[in-house]
């Protein structure tokens, strides 16, 4: 994990409240469990068929009968439950997932999410991403602030096919946290330590100014 990744992962982890049921998208989000304090009360749901992710594999032989939605061998915690795909998505659509933490190609200021295809370039299929984006009670996107072309993750209007409209409530990058109320626009709410508001707005659309005072940046490590 790079220092920037660690910063954003720890800040994203701070959004998890005790007792929550959380689904993690593939990529960056899967790094979150490792930074949570030991014994933190959270249940991770994996759409391929379990609730109750255990601690990371420490050496030893991976058990390929227990994988996450990205296909990685993982462990189950005591009190975990396994289920089939139908039940798994019944839980998602039924409102049992409190928080989905996903990656994104683009997030619009209105909370639209595009994270499943780039026409003509990348057509991997949507997997379970649409259900999670649309039906988790809250959607948090974690992403590097700028892409390799220097463009910010937030856009006025998504140019790529949407995963779901108006679903993202929070975007956490290594520089800033943006948040919106249901039906509202994204606003800057917190800036990483040592950075300025200008750093936080780099590459992002206009009109993201904070409505009140900025919140202190609290990583999970300080809890």
């Amino acid at each position: 994990m790079t220092p920037e990744e660690r910063l954003l992962i720890e800040r994203a982890a701070r959004e998890i409240e005790p007792g929550m049921v959380v689904n993690l998208g593939i990529g960056l989000p899967t790094k979150i469990p490792a930074v949570l304090p030991a014994g933190f009360d959270v249940t991770f749901h994996s759409e391929n068929g379990f609730a109750g992710l255990g601690p990371p594999l420490e050496g030893g032989t991976p058990d390929n009968d227990v994988i996450d939605a990205g296909g990685r061998a993982v462990t189950l915690e005591p009190g975990a439950a396994c289920f089939d795909s139908v039940t798994s998505f019944s839980l998602v659509r039924g409102g049992k997932v409190d928080l989905a933490i996903l990656g994104a190609f683009e997030v619009s200021v209105a909370g639209d999410l595009a994270n499943w295809m780039i026409p003509g370039k990348l057509t991997p299929g949507m997997g379970g991403g649409m259900e999670l984006a649309q039906k988790a009670r809250r959607v948090l996107v974690v992403s590097r602030h700028l892409d390799k072309h220097g463009r910010g993750k937030l856009v006025d209007v998504c140019s790529l096919p949407l995963t779901a409209a108006g679903c993202v409530s929070t975007l956490v990058t290594e520089r800033a946290v943006f948040r919106r109320e249901k039906g509202g626009r994204m606003r800057l709410v917190s800036v990483a330590p040592g950075l300025s508001v200008e750093d936080a707005r780099e590459g992002m659309p206009e009109g993201l100014e904070a409505e009140g005072a900025l919140e202190a940046w609290e990583g999970v490590g300080r809890r």
Partner: protein, 232 residues
């Protein structure tokens, strides 16, 4: 972190007058008798309830005890009431409303409710009085009944085993409507014959995942059932 609570504590926290309550069980199997006894014993606290249950139990037993309290139950949604002549009398006297639904569709409506499916098509009861007045949708060249999902404010289940996280397991035929009701209610109380430490149930054996469950309470001595058995 443990979801273990008491019958009185969990019910008082969850149930409000006017609520729709999903009650597990089929006949005498898998019925949360301790919960229904507590509700029946406190008719002034819990009123105007709509009950959703496979059957009407027997007179004085399970929800049968609740029907005896005037004003506690305003409606029953069910599939079979034949073993409770007392309730049939109350239904015929229009003291308590009753909606009867074919059993598989009753289960499927709850399943849709729990699975976030607002409605589905089927043809059960088509051409019988059960289908009269129901909205139909043409699909694949013929009309089908458009059936709406059913959800509850509170689900009361009875499991044979549950752990402190709410993962639940049923023996034999006790599972019946319990699992689907555990998915279809906003707040779910599992009355467990045995409460076991986390890790006791194999993850593969869990019938209802704990993430659906709000509270686990111990099954009590089942006073009404004992009385009925003594009378028989």
């Amino acid at each position: 972190m443990s979801k273990v609570s008491t019958v009185s504590g969990a019910l008082r926290a969850a149930v409000k007058s006017g609520d729709t309550i999903l009650v597990g069980g089929f006949g005498r199997g898998g019925v949360p008798f301790s919960c229904t006894e507590f509700l029946a014993d406190h008719p002034d606290e819990f009123r105007d309830l709509t009950l959703v249950k496979n059957d009407a139990n027997e007179p004085g037993l399970g929800i049968g005890a609740m029907f005896r309290n005037p004003g506690q139950v305003k409606k029953l949604i069910s599939t079979h009431i034949g073993l409770n002549p007392e309730f049939i009398g109350q239904m015929n006297a229009k003291e308590i409303a009753c909606e009867l639904i074919p059993q598989g569709i009753f289960a499927e409506k709850l399943r849709a409710g729990g699975a976030g499916i607002p409605a589905f098509l089927h043809d059960i009861g088509m051409g019988t009085i059960v289908a009269e007045g129901k909205r139909t949708v043409d699909f694949d060249g013929r009309p089908w009944i458009l059936e709406s999902a059913l959800r509850g404010d509170v689900g009361l289940l009875c499991a044979d085993m549950a752990d402190e996280k709410g993962n639940a397991w049923w023996r034999g035929t006790n599972r019946n409507m319990n699992v689907v009701m555990g998915m279809a209610a906003r707040t779910v109380i599992v009355e467990a014959k045995q409460i076991v430490p986390v890790g006791t149930l194999r993850p593969e054996d869990v019938h209802l995942p704990g993430v659906c469950v709000t509270a686990v309470v111990p099954a009590g001595p089942r006073r009404h059932l004992q009385k009925l058995a003594a009378d028989e």
